[in-house]
């Protein structure tokens, strides 16, 4: 374990939460978007994360051992739940019956995700500060 391994792990957590925040921002910004490149309405985006492990050869024991490297973003997937149907005949994207397919974004859910993402980011910062104070108190040894 290097001196800054923990910092790098927490850094990956911070990056992951930034990405989650980006997807949530995109969902909120496109909450009423009825047109995308594929022609159908915007679909809610979800960031998928995976634990980041690395196998390394230990130079002393000669055994492979797993190293913790934090978290990594694997992909951003679409939420394929059903789209909202809103009756609005004046909308240019309305179908023959006057219904418009609206994105499956629920603003309230997005706000809750926003809060949890912010808190998770703060938790990672707290972990970093704890590691830093641990390092500082190690430097106090023998003072």
């Amino acid at each position: 374990m290097g001196a800054f391994t923990g910092l790098n792990i927490s850094s990956s957590g911070l990056s992951a939460e930034r990405l989650r925040m980006d997807t949530i921002s995109s969902n909120i910004a496109n909450a009423d978007t009825t047109r995308t490149e594929t022609g159908e309405p915007y679909r809610r985006k979800i960031a998928v994360f995976q634990e980041n492990l690395d196998r390394e050869l230990n130079s002393v024991t000669g055994q492979y051992e797993t190293k913790l490297k934090g978290v990594k973003a694997v992909q951003i997937v679409n939420d394929n739940s059903s789209l909202r149907q809103v009756y609005d005949p004046s909308n240019p994207d309305a179908n023959a019956e006057g219904y418009v397919s609206m994105p499956n974004v629920n603003i309230l859910n997005e706000m809750a995700d926003l809060i949890s993402s912010t808190r998770a980011y703060e938790a990672n910062v707290s972990a970093i500060n704890a590691q830093k104070s641990m390092f500082s108190s190690a430097l106090q040894i023998g003072r």
Binding site: L7, S11, R18, K132, L139, G142
Partner: protein, 116 residues
């Protein structure tokens, strides 16, 4: 009184191997007098070159923190927490280096005060 009774023997041999086989500190690498490096570079790793290497690593951290900050200011794809973390790493490395230096100076002064 026998001093080697206090200190385990392998500690002494490690110290000797770190400071060179003839137990003298070599200042060649600091002064830049490298011509006899080729003759005695088999196992002798002198104290000053270790110190210099480690100080260079600390300096590298400072430089990379500087580069990261410049990239962030220039608008490159660098997150703000990466900038903060690299400066933190640089700061922590420097604190460690200062503490090591304090220990070295302390032990030097201890030796200097020794009654002969």
């Amino acid at each position: 009184m026998n001093i080697s009774g206090f200190i385990p023997v392998d500690t002494l041999t490690k110290l000797n191997s770190m400071t060179g086989t003839n137990n003298t500190y070599k200042l060649d690498s600091i002064v830049g007098n490298d011509e006899d490096k080729s003759t005695n570079n088999d196992t002798a790793i002198d104290f000053s070159s270790i110190l210099k290497d480690k100080l260079n690593e600390v300096n590298d951290k400072q430089v990379s923190a500087d580069n990261m900050t410049n990239q962030f200011i220039a608008g490159d794809d660098v997150d703000v927490h990466q900038v903060m973390l690299s400066t933190q790493e640089a700061q922590m490395s420097l604190q460690l280096a200062v503490q090591i230096r304090n220990k070295i100076v302390e032990s030097y002064q201890e030796l200097n005060r020794m009654q002969v």
